[in-house]
Amino acid sequence: MGADPDEELVRRIGAGDQAAVQAMVARKLPRVLSLATRMLGDAAEAEDVAQETFVRIWRHASGWRQGRARFDTWIHRVALNLCYDRLRRRREWTTDELPEVPDEAPLPDAVAGDEGRRVQQALQRIAPRQREAIVLVYYQEMSNIEAANAMQVSVDALESLVARGRRALQAMLVGDERDD
C-alpha cells in the first residue's frame, strides 16, 4: 500500500487547520453521501449519516495513524457502520427480518426520467451485504482489495457478493434478455 493521499490533510485537521477542514468536506462529502444514499435509499437519512461520519472524523483526526487501511477506507467503514445501525433500527421498528433471499421479480419498466428511482428500488431489494459490495466496487470505484478491507471480508468473498448482487439486479432490471 502506497502513501495515503489523505494523510497530510488529516494531520492538518488534527492541528486545528480550518482550511483543511473545508478541503476534507469538499473532497469526501460527495463520496460519503453517495455511499449512504445508495445503502439507505433515503436522502434525509443519508445526510444524517454523512454528518455523523464527519463528526467522527473531526473527533479522531488528531489521533489518526495509518495502519492497514487508508483513511478513505476507514471513513467508508465508519459510514457503513452508521448505515447498518439505521438498517437495524428499521428492522426493529417494522419487526420484519430482512429477507435472506431477495425478491428478484422484475421491476416494472420505468417511465422516462424515472430510471434512477427504479435502480434505487432494486438496490434496496437485494441483500444489504450484496448492496454494500456493489456500491463500493461499482459506484465508489474502490479496488477489490480496498472494498474487501472496508467490508472486512476476503477478496474472494467480495467477488462472490458483488457477482450475486449483480445477478439479482440483472434479473430485476434487465430480465432474461439474451445477447443478440
Partner: protein, 149 residues
C-alpha cells in the same frame, strides 16, 4: 483500479473472463489490475465481446442512478461541527496545562513549609492556640475553683 487477488497475470479463459464481468461489470478499469492486460486481449475475441455486451446492459441501467450533489447547507453544517471537537481538544490541552501549573505551585508550597519547619524555632503549641475553650485572654473554660459551687 482493482487489484488482482492472485497477484499474477495469468492467461485469461472464457470462464474467468465471464466471472470477472459478472462481478465488476463491462468497464475493465474496475477489474483486478493484474488481470486487466489478459482481459483486454480476451475482450477482443467474439466471446469476450459478447460477455462484455451483456454486462454493459446492466451497467447502463446502474449508471442512471445519480445522487444529488451535497447542498451548501449540509456542507456548512458539517464544517461548523468541526469547530466543536477541535476546540474541545484545545480546551483539554489547556486544562492539562492548568493542572500542571497547579501541581508545580503545590510542590513549591510543600517545599516552603518544610523549609520553614526546619529553620524556625518552635512556635507555641497548635493545640493550645486552637483549643476551643481558649480566648485571647487565656483559658475561658470552666474555672476549677467554681467546680465545687
Amino acid at each position: 483500479m482493482a487489484e488482482n487477488r492472485k497477484g499474477t497475470d495469468k492467461p485469461m479463459d472464457a470462464r474467468r473472463f465471464a466471472a470477472l464481468a459478472d462481478a465488476y461489470g463491462s468497464a475493465l478499469h474496475r477489474w483486478p489490475q493484474a488481470e486487466q492486460a489478459a482481459a483486454t486481449l480476451f475482450a477482443e475475441s467474439e466471446e469476450g465481446r459478447a460477455i462484455l455486451r451483456r454486462a454493459a446492459r446492466l451497467d447502463a441501467i446502474l449508471d442512471r442512478h445519480h445522487v444529488e450533489v451535497p447542498s451548501r447547507t449540509l456542507h456548512g453544517e458539517i464544517v461548523a461541527k468541526a469547530g466543536v471537537p477541535l476546540r474541545q481538544g484545545r480546551h483539554r490541552r489547556l486544562w492539562w496545562l492548568g493542572f500542571g501549573l497547579a501541581g508545580v505551585g503545590l510542590a513549591g508550597a510543600v517545599a516552603g513549609l518544610a523549609l520553614v519547619t526546619v529553620v524556625t524555632p518552635d512556635a507555641p503549641s497548635d493545640h493550645y492556640v486552637m483549643d476551643a475553650n481558649a480566648t485571647s485572654f487565656g483559658d475561658a473554660g470552666p474555672d476549677a475553683d467554681t467546680e465545687d459551687l
